[in-house]
């Protein structure tokens, strides 16, 4: 019994941190630009494929540093794509109705999926974790793959890094000002367009890194974007759109619900997080860390 | 006179901010009751609470002897009120004529049930005729087919008034009906409103800033200050009231 609970908590943590890695960039963009970015899943997927290509070039049985180079490459490539997307798409969505900008980012997701099919084909591809992450650790009786521990730690590091970035640095302060009141920020002489651009590039780079780090767990296919996207959407919304801390807590909450639900009803994986999402949204549409709207 | 609307001990706050405190308010049948007060006195909030746009935190509101405190705006409309908004709300992409058609059809639906127009696609002849009559009454002939969003400010206000009249309300509530109008449009609007009131035998409830409008229309005046009523009665008596003079003259 203790064993089962330990394992279930561990699985929940793994789900939560993997999802948070994807959701972090998503919630950042929503917080600043108020765009719910469907394409995030697509760029996450491109990150995974880019890192796959890099690792393929180095051959099999790779040390950890090659894995990290793959992640860097994914960050750079997807970050540059983010720059293009902001220039050509997001910038023009400022005056567009919410429904239409949601649809525009969905169009981008389509383009991503199509591009991946054109470049990498339809076949499933897969990668083993680097050998140094391909073992197991026992804590008590609980069997823990080191790769999964690595993912959990990555999620925690990403969260702490983001909190520090937003709350302790100058660029973080600028981002916060722009998020609260872009009009006032412009009046104070801040280059709001530049801050938007930096945020988008950073958020996309995070999507790329997330893709690279989570790749060894998945078989790569052009549908990969959609799978993580829905989980990340759920986390962002339950967390209260735009709140990093909220997204982190929501990831933990939903991860535990999903993990315990699947433990109790193993025939229905993937359903409990959706149920929890629906219930939470209905009870408190603004999310656990969201402010209640006055209207 | 019968009392058509009766509100007792209304409290309303938004978060920590108390906007209305222990406000009681009456509306007698046939009167033209104007609520005035400095900016931030709570006029618009009072208006919202009475029309049902927001709920009050405590107190009661009676309409025609029925308790409507817990009823939403649309339910109060069905019980005989009609209202306008400070910035005229109309259906921007429809023509002015279609705006009126929607209003008339809504009234008919409420009177005769939702199946009354079943089987019809175009508006029925009687509905079209009524819309045309309203168009003539309010002088909207020239703008009939234009998308309502392109109408001038004054025409939008008149269209909204026409839509409210189409509901055949007992009480017509107008939130600053002349806001943003030029002085000449204003006196025009005052004439139109008092015409309409006489013709339909309406009870009027207005909030207003402009003194010309206030004394042109009001049969009763209520002064709101810091979320409380400090005077209410015939216009000339309120004008002479010491506290009212203090509030208005002392502050400006």
């Amino acid at each position: 019994m203790m064993y089962d609970i330990g394992l279930t908590v561990f699985n929940g943590l793994a789900w939560a941190m993997a999802t948070f890695l994807v959701a972090a960039g998503l919630t950042l963009i929503f917080g600043i630009l108020h765009i719910l970015n469907f394409a995030h899943g697509g760029f996450f997927m491109i990150g995974a494929y880019v890192s796959y290509t890099v690792m393929l070039a180095f051959g099999a049985g790779l040390p950890l540093w090659v894995f990290m180079i793959g992640a860097m490459a994914a960050a750079v490539v997807v970050g540059l794509l983010g720059w293009a997307v902001d220039m050509f798409v997001f910038r023009r969505l400022r005056d567009v109705e919410d429904a239409y900008s949601l649809i525009a980012t969905y169009a981008l997701l389509l383009v991503c999926g199509g591009a991946v099919q054109l470049i990498w084909g339809l076949n499933y591809l897969s990668v083993m974790p680097p050998p140094s992450l391909n073992s197991v650790v026992f804590i008590g009786d609980v069997f823990m793959p080191t790769y999964t521990i690595f993912v959990i730690l990555s999620g925690v590091v990403a969260y702490i890094g983001l909190e520090l970035l937003i709350n302790r640095t100058q660029i973080g302060q600028l981002i916060r000002v722009v998020a609260v009141d872009p009009w006032m920020a412009r009046l104070l002489g801040l280059n709001v367009t530049r801050i938007y651009l930096v945020t988008v590039i950073f958020s996309f780079a995070m999507a790329g890194v997330a893709g690279a780090l989570l790749m060894p767990n998945q078989s790569l296919s052009p549908e990969l974007g959609g799978i993580f996207l829905l989980q990340a959407f759920g986390v962002v919304i339950v967390g209260g759109m735009g709140s990093i801390r909220g997204a982190f807590l929501a990831a933990l909450l939903l991860g535990m619900i999903e993990s315990f639900g699947t433990y109790l009803f193993p025939q229905y994986p993937g359903i409990f997080f959706l149920l929890a999402l629906a219930v939470i949204l209905l009870v408190k549409p603004s999310g656990i860390m969201g402010k209640e709207q006055t209207a | 006179m019968t009392r058509i609307m009766e509100a007792r001990a209304m409290h309303k706050s938004y978060g920590q901010v108390k906007v209305l405190e222990d406000v009681s308010f009456d509306l007698e049948e046939g009167e033209a009751h104007v609520v005035i007060g400095p900016n931030g006195a709570g006029k618009t909030t009072l208006f919202r609470c009475l029309s049902g746009e927001t709920r009050i935190n405590s107190g009661t509101i009676m309409l025609n002897g029925q308790d409507v405190t817990g009823l939403a705006g649309w339910q109060r409309v069905q019980r005989g009120i009609g209202r306008s908004f400070q910035v005229a709300r109309i259906f921007q992409d429809m023509s002015a004529f279609e705006n009126l058609i929607v209003a008339i059809e809504t009234r008919e639906r409420n009177e005769k049930g939702i199946w009354a127009s079943f089987g019809h696609i175009a508006p029925r002849r009687a509905v079209m005729d009524e819309a045309e009559r309203l168009v003539h009454e309010l002088g909207l002939e020239g703008t009939l087919d234009d998308p309502a969003g392109t109408l001038s400010h004054g025409d939008k206000k008149r269209l909204e008034l026409a839509m409210s009249l189409a509901l055949r309300p007992k009480v017509l509530m107008l939130d600053e009906p002349t806001a943003g109008m030029s002085p000449s449009d204003r006196s025009e609007a005052v004439r139109l409103i008092s015409d309409v009131r006489a013709r339909y035998g309406l009870t009027l409830l207005l909030t207003e800033h402009d003194m010309e409008v206030v004394f042109g229309l009001a049969t009763r005046l209520t002064v709101l200050h810091h979320g409380a009523i400090i005077a209410s009665g015939e216009p000339h008596k309120v004008r002479a009231d010491a506290r009212v003079r203090e509030v208005y003259l002392g502050q400006h």
């Binding site: 429904a99 959609g226 229905y268 359903i271 959706l274 549409p285 | 939403a72 705006g73 709300r89 409420n110």
Partner: protein, 340 residues
């Protein structure tokens, strides 16, 4: 003044032209294209059902697959377990499945959520149904329900054999035309005007004495029922109800159709569905090209031509008629009205 009669007649003619164009397909195309044309016909009405919500009452749904799949699986279950049920009644019951899903979901969701929240809630609920289908043995899990027969309809004076693909194709296009015309009538009738009013200004409509949520729910159920009807009609054509039709990419199909064709026009989704079918067919040998083409087109629509294809056409026609307005002032009204 609006001439409602001309408007009705014009749109009836459009529907009849569409039906005639589809009726010619079996004479000029092979069986593969015939199959595609049948699916396009179904997609047209699927798109109309979505746009009925989006442009008709102002609700953004990212979960229309749940209704489509509800209708399809309802129909498949009935044909497998109650084969003696008359075909048309089975279709109606299939459509009712979608309406029921819409009712249950709408009662809960419309009360709390709006805008983007509502969209994501539909997405989540639809995915829930997708997962349930793939995990339920009764619904065939990942394999779906296969071997659905096409019907032979007993009419009092004889039988109507729809077992061939061509015969069933004709049934599809006639049924879809009827539903499309019915939807047009509803949207242009008093109730449709009221829904349109709700989309344009909820507060104003409420203060005309209208229960907004009740009407939104009604529209949601109607939209779900029509989408489910599309799913139910499709099942005997493809002879399978598979879980892919509940996947969220299916939910986005009618969005694509509508935006490509033009959300502001009743027939926008029809134009979009045909265009989409053509792109899909034209790029079938290159994996990924159709997604890129459609994605880029969709982006272009949102960023550059918000009215979609029909919006573009209307704008050009308005510009053209401006120059000749003096002579043809009378005709212009009937022309611009056609799109409504």
């Amino acid at each position: 003044m609006i001439d409602y009669r001309v408007r009705f007649r014009t749109n009836l003619v459009i529907a009849a032209c569409g039906l005639a164009a589809f009726a010619v397909v079996p004479f000029v195309a092979n069986s593969g294209l015939l199959f595609l044309a049948g699916l396009v016909a179904i997609n047209i009405v699927f798109g109309l059902s979505w746009n009925f919500l989006f442009s008709g009452v102002g609700l953004l749904s990212f979960g229309h697959a749940m209704f489509f799949a509800g209708g399809a699986y309802g129909m498949a279950l009935i044909t497998r377990h109650v084969p003696e049920m008359p075909f048309l009644l089975a279709l109606v019951l299939g459509a009712a499945c979608g309406g029921l899903i819409a009712l249950v979901f709408g009662v809960v969701a419309l009360r709390r959520a709006s805008g983007v929240y509502f969209a994501v809630l539909t997405l989540a609920f639809s995915e829930l149904i997708h997962i349930l289908i793939t995990k339920t043995t009764f619904l065939g899990r990942n394999d779906g329900l296969t071997g659905i027969p096409r019907p032979v309809i007993e009419l009092g004076f004889g039988t109507l054999n729809l077992t061939s693909a061509t015969a069933y194709y004709y049934f599809i296009i006639i049924a879809m035309t009827l539903v499309a015309v019915m939807m047009w009538c509803f949207q242009n009738a008093p109730a449709g005007r009221l829904l349109q009013a709700i989309r344009q200004d909820q507060m104003r409509t409420a203060f005309l004495g209208t229960p907004i949520q009740g009407w939104q729910l009604t529209a949601f159920v109607i939209s779900g029922t029509v989408a489910a009807f599309c799913g139910a009609v499709m099942v005997p054509f493809t002879q399978i109800a598979s879980p892919e039709i509940a996947y969220w990419t299916v939910s986005t199909q009618p969005i694509l159709f509508t935006l490509l064709g033009g959300a502001g026009h009743f027939w926008g989704p029809a134009v979009g569905a045909i265009l989409f079918g053509a792109i899909d067919y034209g790029t079938r040998t290159m994996h990924g090209l159709s997604e890129i083409t459609v994605g880029v087109l969709l982006l272009a629509v949102v960023l550059i031509i918000p009215g979609g294809l029909l919006g573009l056409l209307k704008r050009r026609r308005a510009a053209a008629s401006k120059s000749t307005r003096a002579e043809t002032a009378g005709e212009r009204t009937s022309e611009t009205e056609a799109g409504k």
